[in-house]
């Protein structure tokens, strides 16, 4: 099963390496990872997407908690939490006279943005959950994607209604 785990860690050199080392050393998987400073600059927030059966996920959570630089671990899937997750993709797509309008309308549908323009290419910024990003990539593919970069997932708990 896939789990999205949110970590609050000390913002110190070597912390990312400790976490990455824990995953590789114990044979766990990291599917995606994003890290950023929090409002309190002494702490960073990480979102890790990982996969494993219940026993492995339990170990991942416990092992992360055991790391001294890790302040808090929240496994969004293992609990009653409802959360929002988003990814960012930058997609460089070819445009010609025949495809320009189709590209623009797809961008419009997906509420993306053109952030760089050249004679033959648009660079498109799009955010959303994994499925949305996959869908726009799917539509762009036949039109000619030159390059693509996707961020790791960022996730946040929903407030209680």
């Amino acid at each position: 099963m896939r789990h999205t785990i949110s970590l609050l860690v000390d913002n110190k050199p070597g912390v990312l390496s400790r976490i990455a080392g824990l995953f590789s050393g114990r044979g766990f998987n990291i599917e995606s990872l994003s890290v950023n400073e929090t409002l309190d600059p002494t702490m960073s927030q990480m979102t890790i997407v990982t996969r494993g059966d219940d026993r492995i996920i339990e170990q991942i959570n416990k092992q992360l908690n055991k790391l001294i630089d890790v302040i808090k671990v929240v496994d969004f899937e293992s609990s009653q939490y409802d959360f929002i997750d988003r990814e960012l993709a930058l997609i460089k797509i070819q445009v010609g006279d025949r495809t320009r309008s189709e590209v623009l309308s797809i961008i419009d549908i997906f509420r993306g943005k053109v952030v760089d323009v050249s004679r033959s290419h648009y660079t498109v910024e799009v955010t959303g959950d994994e499925n949305k990003i996959a869908a726009i990539i799917d539509l762009f593919k036949p039109l000619g994607i030159k390059e693509i970069i996707r961020s790791g997932k960022a996730a946040l708990l929903r407030e209680k209604k």
């Binding site: 390496s17 092992q63 055991k66």
Partner: protein
């Protein structure tokens, strides 16, 4: 409150060590730590100059196991630091509190492939409990305070502090912090009351309970509580290698060690029990063998300070996270006045007794010395009143089987990592910690040569450590596996050349003794115990002797190869 002192980093370091009540440092100087050594010149801390940095960490580890306090090492950068890795990994696997200080090149040279530079913090990240690179002298007192706290609290373990040369040279007006404030590290000591009550209920109602005690009982100093529990409830106790001595080995309730080379009765009892009470143990593969058949029909209570140990290998029914001593005390309080039916436990103990009489530990005697005989003799002649360290392999398993440990902190052995070369330097550390106690390293002819250079250390400081080499002219355990599982193809496990161990001892200024026949054994041990000097005893033993019983790796532990 201590007053503020203005001093150089090197001096601050030693000042902090004194505040942590460090009495001895095991170390080896070099370029990057010259400033620290310069301050050490007049400091009131004992320093033991080892002959190899690996020896320093093992010695500090041995010191820690005997005293229960933190062992301290000081080494230089680069190779000095990388030589500590095996020692750190050993201490990490066995949860031993050690703090290692390594020198580092000056901060402005870090990352430049400078002379004697190694990224030791990167290298030791997975084999320490935690580690630090100090980049500013202002951080130094706080880091040291944290390091000692981390090493000795929770599940204990080794901590490394990397000290760039310029940092120990900076001057700073410092104050040693009274407390640490670590937001990501808060070990749990007190067990959950509800879980404890559930455990007590299970213990009262079980018909066939067994306690499975590990090194956690030793590190938590919970032997007395464990003894009270076992005695009051009449529960047999089996121990892991790390747990030996946590419960008296000669007590009728002791089943001895369990697992791959455990006793028949211990393995049968665990296989057939209806309640397994795991205390400070981690269900290691050498203990459990096949996980599906391990205590398969038992409810399992697991008491451990480390949550990651719980349900890692075996699904547990009643997990209790916390300090073993605190929890056992609670269990004793909560079960006070409750009685178990005597007859039911008696039946169970009777069943165990039958397993014992069916297969107990045994070996034949012949014209050649049997290694087990040497260990039994050492036990007999010391009355068990000594500290024993072991190397790794057959010597270690025979010691676990044939030496009855009645007190904790009497057996020093590399249980988790299985480090050959551990025993001798660990014995040196133990002798420093307990100068008036006899310390004996039970060694093999292979492992003793991995840190034989420490003979010089023992002689220099007049540490009268005794080494008993069970010389079978081969790597006995490797040979045993080749015999049993590799069709007797003895690939590179036999030593065709050995030094003359007696002469070697003499060359170092120690005493060398040799026994080649069974009737010489007693005499050699007697002489060794009588000399107030380091002694190397060589016992030329039967080469083909195997450690029995044995459970093949991964097999059910009831599936024992018996003699």
């Amino acid at each position: 409150m201590h007053k503020r002192i203005k001093a150089k980093g090197a001096h601050i370091l030693l000042e902090c060590l004194q505040r942590e009540k460090v009495k001895v440092i095991f170390g080896y100087p070099g370029g990057s730590v010259l400033d620290v050594y310069n301050s050490l010149y007049e400091a009131d801390i004992n320093h033991i100059l080892v002959r190899h940095e690996q020896g320093a960490v093992h010695a500090a580890d041995g010191y820690a196991r005997v005293t229960g306090d933190v062992g301290v090492c000081l080494v230089t950068s680069g190779p000095g630091a990388t030589n500590t890795v095996t020692g750190l990994a050993t201490a990490n696997m066995d949860s031993i509190p050690v703090v290692v200080f390594t020198g580092q090149v000056p901060t402005k040279l870090i990352g430049n492939d400078a002379f004697q530079e190694a990224d030791i913090v990167g290298i030791t990240r997975p084999c320490t409990k935690h580690n630090y690179l100090v980049k500013d002298v202002k951080e130094l007192p706080g880091v040291i305070k944290e390091a000692f706290y981390v090493a000795r609290s929770g599940r204990q373990g080794p901590v490394l502090i990397d000290l760039p040369k310029d940092v120990v040279n900076q001057t700073f007006e410092f104050e040693y912090p009274e407390k640490t404030n670590m937001r990501g590290y808060k070990p749990t000591y007190k067990g959950n009351k509800r879980q404890i009550l559930r455990a007590v209920d299970q213990i009262m109602h079980a018909k066939k309970p067994v306690v499975y005690a590990g090194g956690g009982v030793v590190s938590s100093n919970a032997s007395r509580e464990l003894y009270q529990l076992a005695k009051r409830m009449n529960i047999p106790v089996t121990m892991t290698l790390m747990g030996l001595g946590a419960f008296p080995g000669t007590d009728p309730l002791s089943l001895g060690m369990l697992g791959m080379h455990g006793t028949f009765r211990a393995n049968m009892a665990v296989t057939n029990c209806d309640l397994l009470i795991a205390v400070g143990a981690r269900f290691d593969d050498r203990v459990t063998g096949d996980l599906n058949t391990f205590a398969a029909s038992a409810k399992i209570i697991h008491i451990d300070i480390d949550p990651t140990s719980i349900s890692k290998n075996i699904k547990v029914d009643i997990p209790i996270v916390g300090d073993v001593k605190e929890i056992l005390k609670e269990v004793l309080v909560c079960s006070k006045g409750k009685r178990v039916k005597k007859t039911e436990r008696a039946q169970w103990l009777d069943e165990i007794e039958q397993w014992k009489s069916k297969h107990s530990l045994a070996y034949d005697m012949g014209a050649v010395i049997k290694p087990q005989f040497v260990i039994e003799k050492i036990y007999e002649m010391t009355g068990g009143e000594c500290i024993i360290s072991t190397e790794v392999g057959q010597n270690q398993m025979w010691t676990a089987q044939y030496f009855s440990f009645n007190k904790p902190r009497r057996l020093l052995t590399s249980g988790g990592l299985g480090t050959m070369g551990y025993g001798f330097p660990a014995a040196i550390g133990a002798q420093v910690a307990a100068p008036d106690t006899t310390v004996i390293d039970i060694a093999g002819d292979g492992s003793i040569q991995m840190n034989i250079q420490e003979l010089a250390t023992a002689v220099q400081y007049n540490l009268p450590v005794k080494v008993a080499i069970l010389n079978n002219h081969c790597l006995g355990m490797v040979r045993q596996w080749q015999q049993l599982f590799y069709k007797e193809r003895y690939a590179h496990s036999t030593f065709d050349m050995h030094p003359d161990f007696v002469k070697l001892a003499e060359a170092y200024g120690a005493v060398g003794l040799r026994a080649t026949r069974p009737d010489e054994v007693e005499d050699v041990i007697q002489k060794a115990l009588a000399v107030p000097k380091p002694v190397l005893m060589e016992f030329v033993v039967e080469q083909e002797e195997c450690v029995y019983p044995m459970v093949p790796a991964g097999a059910p532990i009831s599936n024992m190869l018996l003699l």
